[in-house]
Symmetry: D2
């Protein structure tokens, strides 16, 4: 099934963990996927930055959406790598992912995670990973 913006939002709404974190799908088009979430106090670590787990959640999920654009709605993240480049200090985190290369069963995607603060955006992490059609990843 083709992954449209509407379907993408419904899928996100069906993920209890994404609801817990308050993630929102803010864009899904030919150029890729964008997820955002407000950096509420309970998403932080002990120094007041967004927890790495929040940042990697966003990267993982945005990569999956980007892969879904190429492969269809039923996809999973097979693997990814993330480099944290700055403490995630800000009011909002934004993940932007795009397809680098897609085959029939797998797509390689990349993702940048940024934080927004006082109107400016700063890169906090960058990721690269493989998205696979569900049911084929480990067959």
């Amino acid at each position: 099934m083709e992954l449209t913006f509407d379907l993408g939002r419904r899928v996100l709404e069906q993920q209890p963990f994404s609801r817990l974190l308050g993630a929102e799908l803010t864009r899904l088009d030919a150029d890729g996927a964008e997820l955002q979430l407000a950096l509420r106090p309970d998403l932080l670590q002990q120094n007041g930055f967004a927890h790495g787990g929040v940042v990697c959640y966003l990267a993982d999920n945005a990569l999956t959406y980007a892969g879904g654009l190429a492969l269809g709605a039923a996809v999973v993240t097979s693997e990814f790598k993330i480099n944290y480049v700055r403490p995630a200090i800000g009011s909002r985190a934004i993940a932007r992912a795009a397809v680098v290369h897609a085959g029939k069963r797998q797509a390689v995607c990349r993702c940048d995670v940024l934080v927004q603060d006082a109107g400016s955006e700063k890169l906090v992490a960058t990721a690269l990973g493989t998205i696979a059609l569900a049911g084929t990843k480990n067959d």
Copy 2:
């Protein structure tokens, strides 16, 4: 400051995101670090598995604890890579991390994430990453 089990538990308690997820530090000794969390319904994705974001949170955090054993308490995850190998279906997730190699400012660590169900454990993901002394990662 040396990272002891007691200090490790206090640090985890000071991470709002770790409290939100209900993570618990269950071991921290010369052999490495172990984190656990109960897979409550709000940690799942749309198919009833633990969300990838929960699994990568656990891997990220367990890697950091393992690195802290070698480098001291003030450490951050610099980067890591994770391979998901099975849907995370179970009542409990467990991340076990250990140091592969440590220098003065960085440690390379690996981590396995398992789920426990009906008494048995299954590997669901494996990760490899770099932990750095806080304040040195991107200096």
Copy 3:
């Protein structure tokens, strides 16, 4: 086709690049794969260490052999990550790879690369990656 030690050696012999580097398959059994090569002067970089390209060649190829044990002889490396932990100074480099998890079409494998010098072995790099059946990776 099942990947046996003999077949593995013939495949390596058919790789012109592996012959150029002088790589040798020294073990291939249920526990995994081992490749070795002598660190000739023309495999070094400007400081006299084995070039990173030699180390990642070894890791890549050993991961592929380990994946082949699980999936059969016709496999390719889909992706991998490598952490260099020490300068590769020694007379011989050894890569030891094993399967972490195997499905029907993909296997996640890990690999350590060591150098031998004056009788002792030291870890110089560690890698983690995905091996796929040839023809399926990017279908």
Copy 4:
């Protein structure tokens, strides 16, 4: 010491392994680094494609050059991840790397590897990694 194009070419010339493979630094400027090599028969694997080890050598080295632009000439690759997306079939391989984020001691860089054939270019791999000042990586 600042890494200039001329210095970069001299460093490559001092790497015996880069000479063995015939790599050439074809660009090094504010936008990043480009390395090229002719895909001679002895750089191939058993199916006539460039060996993965050649592709990851190029990625590794181009990442290092890109990092050197930000950090100075004395740098090493700390870690990287590579996704192979297509068989590397062509007459020439080209790696193009750029800095994603640079601190004082480390830079996160990305790299695409392409093959040229009959005038067109195709992406064969993409990589993401960390470059560190020499002497600091594993301190």
